[in-house]
């Protein structure tokens, strides 16, 4: 009798624990990781797995549909350090092809970071200055910088979300992995 109770208890604890863990970690299932960027191309498709559904329900989030686009999220720089609001970063390179994209910094509260005076805490493809070869450099900093500037303020960690709208990469599975920009850390205040 004691053994049956122990089996039931242990089973429930292990089962519940592993379920919670897998749902939290479901971004590792079917995710594509490119450097610091992570996207869930199947979250917006019909062949969605039960873990991703459970996570969407638990978080109350609605993913971009696969015809709408794909969101890439970064919580660290390319070296693996957590993104901090009081540090500056250089986002360099190119994005996968898309009709348009937006790059937004979010704070821990899930809201866009309050911009430093004179700037915006986000940018989008049409507002961007490009190098002649089509690549770009976006500076993320609380101090004004020339060129493309994402103005951050405050302290704590942040996330960068790059949303590609109307992009062919959601429909073309396999093939070349898409190229995403590098995020390199600079000075911290």
């Amino acid at each position: 009798m004691f053994q049956i109770t122990l089996i039931a208890l242990l089973g429930i604890v292990l089962g519940a624990g592993s379920a919670w863990y897998s749902v939290q970690q479901s971004h590792r299932i079917g995710a594509i990781n490119i450097g610091p960027w992570t996207a869930f191309p199947h979250a917006g498709a019909e062949e969605i797995d039960p873990y991703t559904i459970a996570r969407a329900v638990a978080e109350g989030s609605v993913p971009l549909g696969s015809t709408e686009g794909l969101a890439f999220e970064a919580v660290t720089d390319s070296q693996g350090g957590l993104l901090q609001r009081n540090c500056s970063y250089r986002i360099e390179g190119t994005t996968p092809p898309a009709k348009l994209w937006t790059l937004v910094s979010y704070g821990e509260d899930g809201k866009p970071v309050a911009p430093a005076p004179g700037g915006k805490s986000s940018t989008y493809s049409s507002a961007l200055l490009h190098f002649p070869d089509g690549s770009f450099l976006v500076s993320v900093s609380s101090k004004p910088t020339s060129g493309n500037w994402i103005a951050t303020s405050g302290e704590g960690t942040m996330r960068l979300v790059l949303r590609l709208y109307d992009t062919p990469i959601t429909s073309s599975a396999g093939g070349e992995p898409p190229v995403m920009p590098q995020i390199s850390a600079g000075e911290c205040n």
Partner: protein
């Protein structure tokens, strides 16, 4: 002794596995924080609403500040729903989401017919009826068949700065969700065949 311990271990593993599977599959059934549940408390059925700016904890978490959003909630068990919007030049996209928060169908202004949002979402029974009756509205509408019960549509339009506000507002205010049941238009008799 070893056999007993192994048996104990095996039983625990089986119970743990069952609990694990049950929890993962039950979250969508009992989740109350999901987008549809939140929306249910804020909006009426078939009432397309523009979402206020920069709202968090709303039906859509992680709102892109470059877009203006609108949502409407529907139930297609009895009647279908027709979602239409005025024509616009700005980039827009729309997603049909079921009550679990998973995407059923999505489109953008490039994949839509004529760049205009005109979508009929029907259950399989109504799709059969639509095929039979061939009403004129299917000429320009995208017909989506789904076995979902209830869900909602999210329509978003690019609005990078205030100068786009007017256009985005006009688009979202003109977006309509209506109940739809395929019927034969009253004035159409049999098409006349000319020799």
């Amino acid at each position: 002794m070893w056999l007993r311990a192994f048996y104990f271990f095996l039983c625990t593993l089986v119970v743990a596995g069952l609990v694990h599977i049950a929890i993962v599959l039950l979250i969508p059934l009992y989740g109350t924080r999901d987008a549809y549940a939140r929306l249910s408390s804020d909006t009426q059925m078939l009432d397309f609403r523009m979402l206020p700016d920069g709202v968090t904890g709303g039906p859509i978490s992680d709102v892109d500040p470059y877009f203006a959003y609108g949502v409407c909630r529907f139930d297609i068990r009895q009647e279908g729903v027709a979602i239409s919007a005025p024509k616009t030049d700005a980039f827009w996209s729309a997603t049909i989401v079921n009550e679990d928060g998973s995407v059923v169908y999505s489109l953008n202004n490039r994949t839509a017919i004529d760049g205009k949002l005109d979508l009929l979402l029907l259950n399989p029974v109504l799709v059969l009826r639509l095929r039979e009756l061939q009403p004129p509205e299917i000429e320009n509408a995208i017909v989506v068949e789904s076995e979902m019960k209830s869900g909602f549509a999210v329509v978003r339009i690019l609005r990078p700065d205030d100068s786009w506000e007017q256009q985005a507002k006009a688009f979202l205010e003109g977006t309509k969700c209506k109940a739809y049941v395929p019927t034969v238009p009253a004035d159409s008799g049999q098409p006349t065949v000319s020799q």
